[in-house]
Symmetry: C2
């Protein structure tokens, strides 16, 4: 198979479909999403068979249990996909919204209309449910999508793709609006990210290695975050109860998510009173603490944190702890070692709270809230295609708006430039 | 000189300055802008000397008269630079604006704060006044700037750079916040556009060749437009007076600008009545018309338009004219041959006006207005760094907002994820 020729064909079809899907009515898009949900529900047996094939191959190829778990399409996960499609159908359509329409001194009226980006390329690893999640958000925002899942999930993804096609076709929309790449050849990824004539933006979802490779080689904009090294800073004027609750929640609510706290920073004046309380709660939960020198003077039985710890995303019940002389040191630490994802200050102090959210250069900055809130659903976006830690185009949780652009709309009455 | 090492040093300084400039107060930034204006006013003699050196070299090197004209820093152009600085100082500061702050079901409050992008790289050709224009917009939006002007303007640009440094220094801001590259080695451009660790976005300003090269090789986002192939479509329900006025203005108000109409599309039912009127006006103004077959049946004395004409930006008193069977053909023509810049329909018909602005995939779409309105000042942005025909990050005229990003701000009261 000539991968380049195949991907160009996929790209051409996507570009052509993108023109139609950009102008599809809200009703048609919603109808397609609901028809996809129905098709998935009717295809449970086929999905299970395809998935079993992937799982067998995976076991034969020695995939580890975490990978096999992500690969599995359980009935509950199919339910979640179906539910997700219904939720996206229920979201407001961003396409065509006109904002800020106002009259100018010349007499013309100027506003901005939200429009789709065009073609979105999604590159992901083992989880087949991403196929539906990503396709539904791109469709609702009027984009055509090219999905390239992991080779280990190829049969599951193709079975899901059949249901997506059925949904599109039932709603009278072009089936090429969502294409799942049929080859497992890795060269397909290289082609996908270097076709700016066919693909407008790439969203990679998966491990850091994948995202680094894609970002380095892509010829189009990549919406991504590499790490989630999130901090909670407990300020000297923190309410102790809020501090303990938030710091505990930010670490222990879920360990494997990108918005989980990985480093706790504690202001020196309150370290001795607050750290023993927190350490006891973490100990009961089985969280390993790694501390700076000053921390280990208070918590004498914990391991030391190395320089590497400050820039490590553990994704595990491990937490590095550092005592800082003041908020300025905390901010400098976050901007140096953090990943510009999400950072929170716990304080009752107005001025320091205000300074923190201004000076910390992250996609989400918080006062007295758990970093775990950094999420498209919690922010009211309805859903998210990912979280961006970059500053170009979209930042923070990226929902339907992040998958659109705007164009200027000008209304005149025969107006000419003087 | 080791160009790579020099550019890395420039990049490092810019990155460091960007942190300070991002947090500079509105008052300090405005003070710097006004101090720059004063420094320029006091340096008129030095500017004239430096500019004369560039002009002499230019004449010796055989630059054409258009190039020499762009290179010249007349007293009037210095006045315009000074006036521009005062205007940018008077614009509202976009940095720190918090939008859309609202409560979520969890009780947290979520909004978005506007923040600078970081470091903006500007690559431009002969006009030294761009140095001040670009630097002032980047400074006001809290970004550090690296400016790389054409080698033929090196003395003028360095003389302007001295005034910019004075202004920054007088306002207590880091001088490295605006750096004008000191080497004329072309390799400096190659370095500037491939340093994502130091430069966040590139804005090229100049000819199509420059912009194509920069876009092809850049490793960071480029805010740009290549062509301005703008259309006016006169619909069958156009008011004839508005149609004639707008079509005339869109072509003849200025020939060399990117928002000038290059192709006129006329709906078949009104072609015979409207084209002779318009042709006479264009003839009096010295505009050469090039028509499709059908046009030449009505305007028998004009030259034929070739296929190339439909995708040519004349930047001259030349206009291609095509008669289309209906609006659908006009839209298809615009989306195929246009440059996604600015396109206008002249009509009194509600439904076709609505369809046109939705279906035409351009950064500005208009009803009954001259394409010449596509401009940052006319849209109320106060100023513009350029016009983007891409869909990522910024589209249409790019003002201060386009030089910023947003971060999410979350206010809680000890809120934790349940």
């Amino acid at each position: 198979m000539d991968v380049k020729a195949y991907m160009v064909e996929v790209g051409e079809k996507a570009r052509e479909a993108s023109v139609k899907i950009a102008q599809a009515s809200t009703e048609a898009k919603n109808r397609a999403l609901l028809a996809m949900a129905e098709a998935l529900d009717n295809a449970r047996d086929k999905l299970a068979q395809a998935n079993e094939l992937d799982l067998e191959n995976g076991r034969a190829n020695g995939l580890d249990s975490a990978m096999l778990d992500r690969l599995e399409l359980t009935p509950a996960r199919i339910d979640t996909m179906i539910e997700g499609l219904k939720q996206v159908a229920a979201l407001p359509d961003p396409v065509g919204i006109i904002d800020d329409m106002k009259f100018m001194p010349s007499g013309i009226q100027v506003g901005k209309m939200r429009v789709p980006l065009g073609v979105v390329g999604i590159i992901y690893e083992s989880r087949p449910n991403v196929t539906v999640e990503a396709a539904s958000l791109c469709l609702k925002s009027g984009n055509a999508t090219i999905l390239r899942g992991g080779s280990e999930a190829i049969h599951s993804n193709q079975a899901v793709a059949v249901c997506i096609s059925q949904g599109l076709s039932q709603a009278g929309l072009p089936e090429d609006a969502v294409q799942v790449v049929k080859t497992t050849d890795r060269a397909a990824v290289g082609e996908l990210i270097t076709m700016p004539e066919y693909v407008d933006v790439i969203v990679p979802r998966g491990g850091k290695g994948l995202i680094e490779r894609v970002s380095r080689d892509a010829k189009v904009t990549v919406i991504k975050h590499l790490d989630g090294i999130c901090h909670v800073f407990i300020d000297r004027d923190a309410d102790h109860e809020k501090a303990v609750n938030v710091a505990f929640n930010a670490k222990t609510h879920r360990y494997g998510t990108c918005n989980t706290m990985e480093t706790l920073l504690v202001d020196e004046p309150v370290a001795a009173s607050i750290l023993p309380l927190l350490a006891e709660k973490y100990r009961q939960e089985g969280v390993e603490l790694r501390g700076c020198e000053a921390t280990r003077c208070i918590l004498t039985d914990i391991n030391p944190a190395s320089e590497d710890d400050w820039s490590t995303e553990y994704l595990a019940p491990i937490l590095s702890v550092k005592i800082v002389a003041d908020m300025e040191e905390a901010i400098a630490h976050i901007n140096k070692y953090g990943s510009h994802h999400t950072d929170s200050i716990i304080t009752e102090n107005y001025t320091r709270g205000r300074t923190f959210i201004t000076a910390v250069d992250s996609s989400s900055v918080m006062i007295n809230a758990s970093t775990r809130f950094a999420d498209g659903f919690e922010y009211g976006l309805g859903a998210e295609i990912g979280i961006s830690t970059d500053k170009i185009h979209a930042r923070g949780p990226v929902g339907l708006d992040g998958l659109t652009s705007q164009k200027y709309v000008v209304f005149g009455d025969g107006h000419i430039r003087q």
